[in-house]
Amino acid sequence: MSETVDLGRELARGVIEAMLFAASVPLSVPELAAASGLEASVVKHVLEALTREFGAAGRGVRLEYLGGGYQLLTRPEYAPVLEKLGRTRTPPQLSRAALETLAIVAYRQPVTRAEMDAIRGVRSDATIATLLERGLICEDGRKNVVGRPILYATTRHFLEQFGLGSLDQLPPLPEEDQPDLV
């Protein structure tokens, strides 16, 4: 990398904030560090400070952690106002079948098509193709069993679209594997 720019804390904060403002996608700590020449530890420190600052009452935007990166987003409570400006946003339009398949991939990844079929009780080829095309899932190697079937996993784009910082933030699977059976 280029020479490390020795900026004061104030300047470091300004640089990070400028990048977050200009970007239309979440920026990861390595991306922010590489572009600014700042140490990753400094970047993280600044991000924490900015998160606190934007989290304060009376701010219109918030620093969100999405798909392994940081991004400035408007607060959800201002959605009705922004819609009056003509800025409509549609959530990803997915059929129930596609959402079911996506849920299985999200919680069981990496997972094969046969495993999805077994859980849903129907073939999932078409919905898998849709999810691949939408960039929500991707192929993730092959399972080491007979036939070496393709394994599927969710993408960074999936995390961004569903407001998740990482897979750890998925809510627990409802009533997972029925431990309450008599």
Partner: protein
């Protein structure tokens, strides 16, 4: 007549249909009345018209499994004493599948509301690309126009007019004769062909040479050449009748 397929009816698959029946009839998932649900399931299938054979197959496989299950529940196995504690409920596998399916269906609904929530937050559209900077154009509209004009000027046109060289042999003959006589008036005995044609192109050389040959044939000039491929010297014939106009 109903032409609806089971998919159009809204059931993605046999598990979803079973859940629909369980909830509709308020059945206990942990104590499913197999005979009842099998009957309801089959009745539902009979009311359908099947268009999608693959989907039909999936529903029919479940129907077969239900019938088999019904038999196992109704007919106690002869070799096991009834009420033995270690006997696994034959319905267990189906119950597990239904519960697993339901938990993912709930997860799917949760994902949908998460996406909806996310869609209520806006990001800045198309900010500066941070990682890959775009090289500046370094020009304005006028610059673009000039660049296009230059490009068009250099471009090979689809149609063009080829102008034919209009110097004819006759013209060349007249020029040669006048040049030769002019040289004699200046006191020179002869002029070389290269002096007359000079640095003109290949075409002019050929025309001039043909003109010279024609003048020789008509007896207007005499030529001399010291050696093959050497310089050609031209002088007028001594007994030229007419004096060309200069």
């Amino acid at each position: 007549m109903t032409a609806l397929s089971i998919r159009l009816e809204g059931f993605e698959g046999p598990l979803e249909l079973l859940w629909h029946l369980i909830e509709r009839d308020q059945l206990d998932i942990h104590d499913i009345p197999i005979a009842h649900i099998t009957e309801q399931y089959l009745q539902h299938l009979q009311e359908q018209e099947w268009r999608d054979l693959e989907a039909a197959g999936e529903f029919l496989v479940m129907a077969a499994q239900l019938l088999q299950l019904k038999l196992r529940v109704l007919l106690p196995r002869p070799d096991t004493p009834t009420g033995a504690g270690d006997e696994v409920d034959p319905r267990q596998e189906l119950v597990d599948r239904l519960l697993t399916y339901r938990s993912y269906r709930a997860a799917a609904a949760a994902l949908q509301s998460m996406a909806l929530q996310r869609s209520r937050q806006w990001e800045r559209p198309n900010g500066l690309p941070v990682v890959v900077p775009v090289a500046p154009l370094g020009t304005d509209a006028a610059g673009l126009r000039d660049a296009l004009a230059g490009l068009l000027a250099r471009a090979t046109p689809l149609y063009s007019t080829i102008t034919r060289d209009l110097v004819s042999i006759g013209t060349a003959m007249r020029e040669l004769v006048s040049a030769v006589f002019r040289a004699r008036r200046q006191g020179r005995k002869a002029v070389s062909l290269s002096e007359l044609v000079g640095r003109s192109g290949r075409r002019q050389w050929v025309i001039s040479f043909l003109a010279l040959l024609e003048l020789v044939r008509r007896g207007r000039v005499l030529v001399a050449q010291e050696r093959p491929l050497g310089e050609i010297y031209i002088r007028p014939r001594q007994r030229a009748e007419e004096v060309p106009a200069s």
